[in-house]
Amino acid sequence: MTSTLTSHAPAHTSGGGALRRLNFVTALIGGVLFGVLAWWLAHTFLDAGGAGYSDQVTVLTGCGWVVGFLLGIGALTGPGKWFTGRDQTHADEMYLAGKDLGRKRYFQYTTDHKVVGVQYIFATMALLGTGGILAMGIRTNLLTPGNHFVNQQVYNGFLGVHGMLMILGLIVAVAGPWANFVLPIQVGARDMAFPRLNALSLWTLVAAIPLLLGSLAIGAMDMGWVTQAPIANQAGIGFDLFAMSIITFTISTTVAGVNTICTVLTMRTKGMTMERLPIFAWASIFAAGLGLYAFPFFLVVMSLNLADRMVGTSFFVASGGGTGWLQENLFWLMGHPEVYVILLPAVGAMLEIASVFSRKPLFSYRTVIGGMAGLCGLSALVWAHHMFTTGWAPTLGGPFMLTTELISIPTGVIFLVMLGTIWRGNIWMRLPMVWVFGFIANFIVGGITGIYLSDIPVDNQMHGTMFVVAHFHYVFVGSVLFGAIAALCYWFPKVTGRYLDEKMGRISFWLVFIGTHVTFLAMFVSGMRGMPRRYSSYSMLFEHTNFVSTIGAYMIMAGMLVLLGAFIVSWRSGEPSGPNPWNAKSLEWMVPTPVPLENFEVLPVITSDPYTYGEA
């Protein structure tokens, strides 16, 4: 059902039942209630003597939490009404979209894509913030060789949950806020293709976060973020919540991915052909599509792992006829495409920024689309480069080395387009562009060290060491996080009507930029000198480089805190920006700020792409 602003239905009205009384608080209450109920039922009716009993109880409790939370937020009122033959009235739709609700709408099951985008900003901050705190715990433990900031058990839990929080956080860091807030406006739509599913994806993600944190609290997990079997089978019941969190998360990303793709494919305004789409829209649908391929493996690998624990199957247990290599294959079938699911939206956003702040058209639009397609295609074929030293299928080493090294060609295309766009531009070094330059400098290091690791003789030395950790942090922190911050600085004025504070933003940039190099260059050296990863303690040999890495990590943390400060201060009292502070040309800058409900009074007609700088 579609609805328009020019409706004659009364704006307020009608009793409207449960819908109007549900919010974040009722969701929490519902989650806890159903969690306790499920726990009690499981406790009462399951065979307490049976193998896997405590895992069954924990998983069912997790399920109860998710269902109760979604009920409590109101995710199921719409389907419920439809099921009983009463579709929602227009007033209900308007209420759902958050009309006239003011701030309250941010704490509700709201369908307006802009509200969902803002909610995603805060969900991302929660994920990256808690992940960051755990990172500080890890680095503090590694400050000096014999340091015991936390005990080994807690340390191992920190490792796994830090990794997973950051992975989930980065998957949504750009796609969550901006493919929701900006993308529909960019393509000239009044909302996402499926507004209610949009709210569903957000609140499913929110439901997954406490599960992940809860897993740390009940703990005893030694399996790292890759949840390798059989060590994951030995882990305490924390692992059950950990896996439930991921299963919930994959539902969220699947719903979100379908929505993103449908929005771009079907909701474009008149004249917005695929060749005129902003590059961020292309990046978003590539990432979403790749996610639709990758995340089912995530769901499957976690489910099989739970099955092994709960009901005694042996998918991953060699003595029972399964194999741990199956777990590793399934995990990396997800794991490698996932790194591009994370990377692509950030790159898309930064290409927009590069064009706007160089005052030049995007260099070679078609080449970069080809490059992104190449990245997606190849990234599905390289997963075993994470398994070179596992002993699985040594004869496939050569082919996987081939596919992995081929990826550097489309990766190079991203650099070509980035540099080509900057080339001879009039470069405006405002905050978003500062972070883009940081990205370029960092990504080259991450990319090149990736090529070393794809070479099997080198990987035989480097796999499982701090060198790998430094490699992917150069990509995740140095590239994706920088891109996410660039995107935040770029679109912040559209969300709030204010600039993100330039001065604090620059202080934050230098702290994070220098901190990243200090931390991870030293970490490369730790790895080269022979320090394995996931060590809670190490010999004197690695003393200096670890000390340096920890200091660098504190710098990153300080920089992120400054950024958080800038975010809060600017949101409340930053310099007003007007609707189009960067004089950009894509549609999101053509609508007023704050963006009205349903975005456009009259849908625009498009005659060119948004990169007509200098073409008048």
């Binding site: 005052r359 596992t390 080339w423």
Partner: protein, 245 residues
Amino acid sequence: MSDNQNKKSSLHILFWIWVVLTVVGILVAIYGIPWLMPASASNTMHMSILTMVVFTVAAAPVAALVYSVVLFALAKWRYRGEGTPPDGPPIRGNNVTTSVWLVASTVLTVFLLIWGLALLASDATGEAKSEMTVNVTGQQWIWSFQYPGTSVSSHDLYIPVNTDVKFDVTSKDVVHGFWIVQMGIKINANPDEITTTSVTATKTGTFDIRCTEICGLNHAFMVTHVHVLTKKNFEHWLATQPATI
């Protein structure tokens, strides 16, 4: 100066920045990497270090190009006025640049591939000629080594120098990673599976073995040593060990 001349002379500068950065990169590759890596105790390790050097040399011009354009853009193309800068030249692509870029990156990639595959092939032929086998067992959190044909087992590894040794690796509980740090070999120890790797030590001495897969609480302490002895000393060591199995 005409606009054209200006453009030319400034690209000159860009070129020299690129040359300087490339040279720096190559120097770091040739001197820095071998200095940072452990001294090699096998040909396998020697080839890994060499590969890192070669790849860094090959990557140096690429990274230098990116950094020089970035530095040049910041110095030369940065807009220093107030407000939004005027529009730049509407360059929507350049087929020559794009083609050169694609061809160059393909050539580089193919070179790296051939290098890697050749190395891999030479490694594979090495495996056939193994002269002795050691059974390696990981368990939380110790390594055990058993010498087939004898009843000797040990927690430190002993092998003879200049002998191709094959390792049959397995685990009693979870996955561990068997890594001889200075010899550049690594293979996971999986429960109920046997994986193999092999190496020829080229130096006598004592080297490090560390576990590279997280295996529980004491993962960081699952370390031991390999003692590379002369063949004579190794025979002697083996003969004087008490039978432990």
